[in-house]
């Protein structure tokens, strides 16, 4: 299915958020949101994705 991940359109085979992150090569410590709603790490494996979902993957960054 086609999704948007951090603003970029991608074609993925994965059906859940957890599987999509693995498929796209994400490892380490980060937080996720789908369609502008926070999805905790514990809920990723049970979060089914739908066509056109917008996924945000955020990590630590310098800030003031």
């Amino acid at each position: 299915m086609q999704i948007t991940l951090n603003g970029e359109r991608r074609e993925i085979a994965a059906a859940t958020l957890e599987a999509a992150l693995t498929e796209c090569g994400f490892t380490g410590h980060f937080a996720t949101a789908v369609n502008e709603v926070f999805v905790p790490a514990t809920a990723r494996s049970g979060h089914a994705l739908s066509e056109g979902d917008r996924i945000e993957v955020l990590g630590a960054m310098q800030g003031g």
Binding site: F26, A31, Q62
Partner: protein, 256 residues
């Protein structure tokens, strides 16, 4: 030193982690500043894991982290960012920024109060980046905030304290609330001035990170903030308009 949500800080500096010439300079500046708190942020992560290296650097500093909601313009955006920050940084602390004006980055205090209420109710310990408005301060405390962080001047401007009168009034109005001057500090004297007003800490970033020698400036900021804090604690004299001789007049010889 004041206590922020149960955590007492030995050093009155809170230092940002952005805009340093290199991670090495960031690390050296932090160690020189003695800052016990580092502000951090969240941004889109690549599969290369760029954020992981930064997060490791911050953890190695052994300081407390204060994640921000920088760049958020709506309550929903700020609240969601706070949720995500709590998971990434594993802390209930959140520096709540809700930007209302593009050029000055002035906080949107109406949305700020709304978001502060939502997050406080959810157990977050909110550090609101606000203006020096007393009524907004009251509303933020009523919303559950136990710290207020009024701006000294617009973020990154280095202008110092635009309105010392308002900051003094805020200190007087909220004598038992930890207060932090956040943003606008450019010089060590600005940090000292904030502490001389009785503020509990100063939060700065650009003044150190963009100085020609960030490490030396970090040292200067630490010394200035400490000097200001000690000056306030020492109960300064009242300023007056006319001179008052410091040398006693009694016993002066008649030689005219």
């Amino acid at each position: 030193m004041r206590t922020f949500y149960g955590t007492t800080l030995a050093n009155p500096l809170m230092l940002g982690t952005a805009r340093y010439p290199s991670p090495k300079v960031l690390e050296a500046a932090f160690r020189e500043s003695g800052a016990a708190v580092a502000t951090v942020s969240l941004r889109r992560e690549g599969a290369d894991g760029a954020g992981q290296a930064f997060w490791q650097l911050i953890r190695d500093l052994g300081v407390l982290v204060l994640p921000n909601t920088a760049g958020c313009h709506t309550v929903k955006e700020a609240v969601t960012t706070a949720h995500m920050a709590r998971e990434v940084f594993d802390t209930p602390w959140i520096k709540l920024e809700l930007i209302g004006h593009t050029d000055s980055l002035q906080p949107d205090v109406f949305q700020l109060v709304e978001a502060a209420k939502i997050l406080s109710d959810e157990g977050f310990q909110v550090f609101p980046y606000t203006t020096d408005d007393l009524i907004v301060g009251e509303r933020l405390l009523a919303a559950g905030c136990e710290v207020l962080m009024p701006w000294g001047a617009p973020i990154g401007s280095g202008r110092g304290l635009s309105n010392p009168y308002a900051l003094r009034a805020m200190r007087a109005e909220f004598p038992d609330t930890p207060l932090v001057v956040d943003a606008g500090i450019g010089l060590p004297s600005h940090a000292a001035a904030a502490m001389e007003l009785g503020y509990d800490a100063v939060l700065l970033n650009t003044a150190v990170a963009r100085a020609g020698d960030p490490v030396a400036m970090a040292c200067a900021m630490r010394e200035a903030a400490e000097a200001g804090a000690r000056g306030f604690a020492a109960d300064p004299i009242e300023a007056r308009d006319m001179a008052e001789p410091s040398t006693p007049v009694i016993g002066k010889a008649f030689l005219a």
